[in-house]
Amino acid sequence: MSSIIVDIASMAVSSNPDDTLITYSLGSCLGITVYDPVVRVGGMIHCMLPLSSSDPQKAQTKPCMFVDSGMVELLKKLFDMGVRKNSAIVMVAGGSQVLDKQGLFRIGERNYTVFRKILWKNGMMIKSEEVGGSVSRTMKLDIATGNVFLRSEGREWQL
């Protein structure tokens, strides 16, 4: 069994049942998993900011930094590997918030809003989510089963 670490502003896809995709330190960032149980192919992305328009040049070289360009990349790659929209299971975690009354640092909330819009445009739904609050999370996707696990504040559970 091998663990593939998905760094910040990166993604990974796999069809190897021995693989586990894992991403750490999800604060305001979003960790998103897409898994198709029919073809047993899955992918994970760790996006930092909502919109690629905030740095179009960066979006060219590092599309996974942003939720909008990153999701396009992830879905394109997974569809190429045989994943179908109708059977794809989407889960999301992260989007935490600091204690900010002014709302300037609501990066997590903005990330989540953009993510929901992209899914809606693609006719896809979220199956499970663990979003918001004020904690840091680790997310794991088991390619053999499609199970997603979260770890935060010393606890681990299945999403």
């Binding site: 910040i8 604060g27 900011l49 909502p50 900010d100 903005r110 004020s134 840091s136």
Partner: protein, 297 residues
């Protein structure tokens, strides 16, 4: 200086715990001799560069590290610097301090801190991210380059090395619950230990003879409005600190448990696009710095 959250009673801190924290600060080992040497000369307008170069020659490895950093594209000097004495002359004492702190402090900052649930390297990753973000933020706001800003960023949370064991020992489930309910972590530290990590760090750095600007900005990085003449530096660190937590740069138990200063945000005229732009640029600079400072990615 932190205020209690309305509706959440804060019990009086145990003075004996504060005394133990102060003793722990006093018992901290001295900084690296090279760092101590620069600090001893920094306030001196006639700094003796020969004395510094003599100290440097006893630690060629560390000196090489300082020169490597000074010559890296990340700190951008126009011409190559090939000796410590040349670095003193060309960079000036304040910029030299940035380099020396960045070279000598990472070993200390790599320690895990159990009380804050920070693993090996977490404090270093967070600190470097804040240092770089503060510089990028200053640039994006058109604030003139501030000497020693990088050092403040790197050292802003050193107090956690002191308070960490006390947080682990004295924070009860009720304390954790208090901050879950919206009481900032620094206020909980103050209520429980009688001293917060920012104050502890400032006292440690003051004991090491760091300049007042650095000590004050570290002390006030969660309440920059109290930093007096050093408010600008403290504000840049405050915003960079919050942004680092959002991005998940070296996070710990307290990551999302600090209040954003409304005064600071209003004064700096910050908007979401500006801080997101800063986050993008920091991402690029971090790649090179991680390698230079020996951070495991």
């Amino acid at each position: 200086m932190s205020s209690s959250q309305p509706g959440i009673p804060a019990s009086a801190p145990d003075e004996s715990i504060r005394a133990q924290v102060l003793l722990a600060i006093k018992n901290q080992p001295a900084p690296h001799p090279l760092c101590a040497s620069v600090l001893s000369q920094i306030a001196n307008p006639n700094a003796d560069y020969k004395v510094l170069a003599q100290t440097a020659q006893y630690d060629p490895g560390m000196t090489a590290g300082v020169l490597k950093l000074a010559n890296s594209s990340l700190f951008g000097t126009a011409r190559a610097i090939d000796s410590f004495q040349a670095a003193c002359v060309r960079l000036g004492m304040k910029k030299l301090l940035d380099m020396v702190v960045a070279t000598t402090m990472p070993e200390l900052l790599k320690r895990g801190i159990e009380g804050y649930a920070m693993g090996h390297d977490d404090l270093l990753k967070h600190s470097v991210w804040v240092a770089v973000a503060a510089e990028e933020l200053a640039r994006s706001l058109g604030i003139k380059r501030q000497d020693m800003l990088f050092t403040v960023g790197l050292l802003h949370d050193t107090g956690k090395l002191i308070t960490g064991p006390f947080v682990k020992k004295h924070f009860s489930a009720a304390d954790y619950e208090r901050h879950q309910k919206g009481m900032a972590f620094d206020a909980t530290e103050l209520a429980t230990l009688g001293i917060g990590h920012a104050e502890a760090g400032a006292l440690m750095l003051d004991g090491w003879h760091f300049p007042e600007e650095i000590v004050t900005a570290v002390r006030c990085h969660h309440e920059p409005e109290h930093a007096g003449p050093y408010r600008s530096t403290a504000s840049l660190i405050h915003v960079a600190d919050i942004l680092a937590y959002c991005i998940g740069a070296g996070d710990g138990l307290d990551s999302f448990q600090y209040h954003v200063s409304a005064d600071c945000v209003a004064r700096m005229k910050l908007n979401a696009a500006a801080i997101e732009g800063v986050a993008c640029r920091v991402f690029d600079r971090m790649k090179g710095l991680n390698e230079l400072l020996g951070i495991d990615c």
